[in-house]
């Protein structure tokens, strides 16, 4: 059984191995051992912290396979840009109407904004090749929101997820070339290296355009890159849009990649989460008598959060959920405990 659980110090070596897999974009795992350790320590401190208002906490979950290998990661940050502001381009649509000329059309413009500041941010989603497209990948992505359902005071009412944008074979970004380069006077990769992937730095407001960028004025390849995801991000994109995230409102200021966002009330995990008491399932031969549905189940404890997949009959009109002993052990729960269940 695959288990999603908070990262532990012992995982650092495994994470380092994962980080060696080439991944584009800046929203993935840190690359150096030092930074990985910092992230792991932040996560451990954050899970352990008593939180009143979401602030600089960062949470890193890992997906552990049956054979106890770490095959995936997914992170949450309580409040984006909490030590500054989180900058993005807002997609504005300007309606233009001239009654005299009987013309009506809309113009797309990008406005540098800090609206996502304070949103909770999901990032660093990665699963290994073998888990691609499996329910476990979906479990990993969604477990983050299940934790947020469990501990709403640790998160904002709104979430966003930046996904890596398209780059060419040399690592160049057509969107960057048309925009950021004119202000930063450097290559895309140099710029990302310089600011360490951050979107909250003073130099962004110093250098990036203060006025809306009218999209029709951008070259065709830059326009085409807007809101396009890097192929490596497709899985995350599909999982998140199925969850209820919307992709049309913001894009990344550097590579034009999409930023998905949603109010928690629009997310399936929030609207569909059921709190149920744990009962012990008995493995009877007539198990098939009621249709078995797939659920993500997470433990109900903020400080020992774990999530797995299980199958059981529809829970909508039940007060309890029957979990096998194995699942109970994986979740660190016992009969009578409360768990959170979501159809997956």
């Amino acid at each position: 059984m695959y288990v999603v659980r908070p990262v532990e110090l012992a995982d650092i070596a495994a994470l380092e191995a994962l980080a060696a897999v080439p991944m584009p974009g800046v929203h993935t795992l840190p690359k150096t051992r030092e930074k990985i350790r910092a992230m792991v320590e932040l996560s451990i401190a954050s899970f352990g912290a008593h939180v009143d208002i979401p602030s600089e906490e960062g949470y890193l979950l890992v997906l552990e396979s049956q054979d106890r290998h770490i095959v995936g990661t997914a992170a949450m940050f309580a409040a984006a840009g909490s030590n500054g502001t989180y900058f993005s381009f807002r997609n504005d649509v300007i309606q233009q109407v001239s009654r005299d000329l009987n013309i009506s059309h809309s113009v797309h413009a990008l406005t540098l904004c800090s609206e996502l500041t304070g949103y909770s941010q999901l990032s660093s989603f990665y699963v290994g090749e073998r888990e691609h497209g499996t329910p476990e990948a979906a479990l990993l992505s969604r477990a983050r929101l299940m934790f947020a359902v469990l501990a709403p005071h640790r998160f904002s009412d709104r979430f966003f997820v930046p996904l890596a944008g398209v780059t060419d074979s040399e690592g160049g970004s057509p969107f960057w070339d048309a925009l950021g380069r004119k202000f930063f006077k450097m290559d895309f990769l140099d710029a990302e290296r310089t600011i360490g992937g951050a979107r909250n730095r003073t130099l962004i407001v110093e250098l990036m355009p203060h006025y809306p960028v009218y999209v029709p004025l951008l070259p065709g390849d830059a326009q085409a890159a807007m809101g396009q995801i890097h192929p490596s991000g497709e899985l995350a994109f599909n999982l998140l849009t199925a969850e209820g995230f919307e992709a049309d409102d913001y894009i990344d200021i550097f590579d034009g990649g999409p930023i998905l966002q949603a109010h928690k009330n629009s997310l399936r995990t929030y609207t569909g989460a059921l709190q149920r008491r744990v009962a012990t399932s008995v493995d009877t031969p007539d198990r098939g008598r009621e249709p078995q549905l797939r659920y993500a189940v997470s433990s109900g404890s903020e400080h020992d959060f774990r999530a797995v997949i299980t199958h059981c009959p529809a829970l909508d009109s039940q007060l309890s959920v029957a979990l096998s002993v194995e699942v109970q052990e994986a979740l660190h729960v016992a009969e009578g405990d409360t768990v959170i269940c979501v159809r997956i």
């Binding site: 001239s98 005299d100 048309a178 004119k182 450097m186 130099l203 110093e206 006025y211 009218y214 004025l217």
Partner: protein
């Protein structure tokens, strides 16, 4: 002989004939009898001072007195933009600088503005091809400066002239293709025609309102900002000689430059002098700057019947020996005051 003079109601037919000979690109002199009649009526009322200064439109015609034929026309509008908004792009500078990265980027920006609202405008210059020789073009264009120097109280502080912008030989405007077309979605000629007939509200409705970085435009559009149409280059030079400068305002469609001046800083205001018609003494002549055969613009001082010629006479210490024939062209007599200005600027003696 050629005389530039205030237009009269009776000039309408001859003006119409001339307008039929104006090519495209001059939007203010269309061969439309109704529009033209209205405009001449306003001009006549302007010289007669029966309408307020900001509504006036002083039109001048150049007449060939040998034939009675009109050889050219030009005008001064009292104030632009007071009934319909008058739009320009203003070129500004924004510096994007980060000490941390040691990046210092100086960006040109375009601001949609109505800053020139209320300015006096030089416009509608046209010289018939038959007369495009010698100093005729200068005489016609510069006549307006002498008029302003004689009647500065009629004008606001700011004087402007819009110059036709750069177009390729095919008529393509790189600036329009790079910017306006994305918002107007129609041909340049169509936009041009709409503004000519006063339909300008679409500008407010369709033009992007926010400042634009020039760097977003295609290179060929960037390059022609503030550049004049090749046929307009000589007209630009004449105005620059008189103290008009490109100060960063351009046309919103073709990016043609607007030349500007403070009225009080015009060469005509600084250097033109009044002189009484009459003989000059030897003593005066002896002290005068050496005569270089430099022609002089001479006008009478009557608003309602303003007339101006080019003369070889030289004003010396407040007197000018103007030949009888020239006095007649100016409707002047011995003893009358005339205003004079050398046709070409003198070099600085620094």
């Amino acid at each position: 002989m050629l005389v530039v003079r205030a237009i009269q109601a009776t000039d309408l037919d001859a003006l119409y004939v001339m307008a039929t000979q104006v090519g495209s690109g001059m939007t203010t002199l269309k061969p439309d009898m109704k529009m033209m009649g209205d405009r001449v009526a306003i001009a006549v009322a302007s010289f007669a001072e029966t309408i307020p200064p900001e509504q006036r439109d002083y039109m001048f015609v150049m007449e060939d007195t040998d034939t009675g034929r009109l050889a050219g026309v030009c005008a001064i509008k009292g104030a632009v933009g007071l009934t319909e908004p008058f739009y320009n792009y203003r070129i500004g500078t924004l510096v994007h600088s980060s000490r941390e990265l040691e990046v210092f980027t100086r960006m040109d920006t375009l601001y949609l503005s109505n800053d020139l609202t209320g300015s006096t405008e030089l416009c509608s210059l046209f010289l018939h091809p038959d007369y495009r020789t010698g100093n005729n073009g200068k005489l016609l264009s510069k006549s307006r400066f002498l008029f302003i120097a004689q009647f500065p109280h009629l004008f606001t502080e700011k004087l402007i002239a819009e110059m036709r912008g750069y177009q390729e030989e095919s008529g393509r405007s790189p600036f329009y293709e790079g910017l306006g077309r994305h918002f107007f979605k129609m041909e340049f000629d169509h936009v041009d025609a709409l503004t000519a007939v006063g339909k300008k509200s679409f500008i407010a409705e369709l033009m992007p309102r926010q400042p634009l970085y020039v760097a977003y435009l295609p290179d060929d559009a960037q390059e022609v900002i503030g550049k004049v149409h090749i046929s307009t280059a000589p007209a630009r030079r004449l105005l620059e000689q008189e103290g008009m400068y490109f100060e960063g305002y351009v046309d919103i469609f073709d990016a043609g430059p607007v030349l500007q001046a403070r009225v009080s800083e015009l060469r005509a205001l600084r250097d033109s002098t009044l002189a009484d018609i009459g003989p000059t003494t030897d003593w005066d002549s002896a002290c005068a700057p050496e005569s270089s055969g430099e022609p002089v613009l001479v006008s009478n001082t009557t608003l309602k019947d303003f007339r101006m010629i080019l003369s070889q006479a030289i004003p010396v210490n407040g007197a000018i020996a103007l030949p009888e024939a020239e006095q007649q062209l100016l409707h002047c007599h011995s003893g009358d005051s005339v205003r004079t200005l050398t046709l070409n600027p003198r070099k600085n003696n620094g």
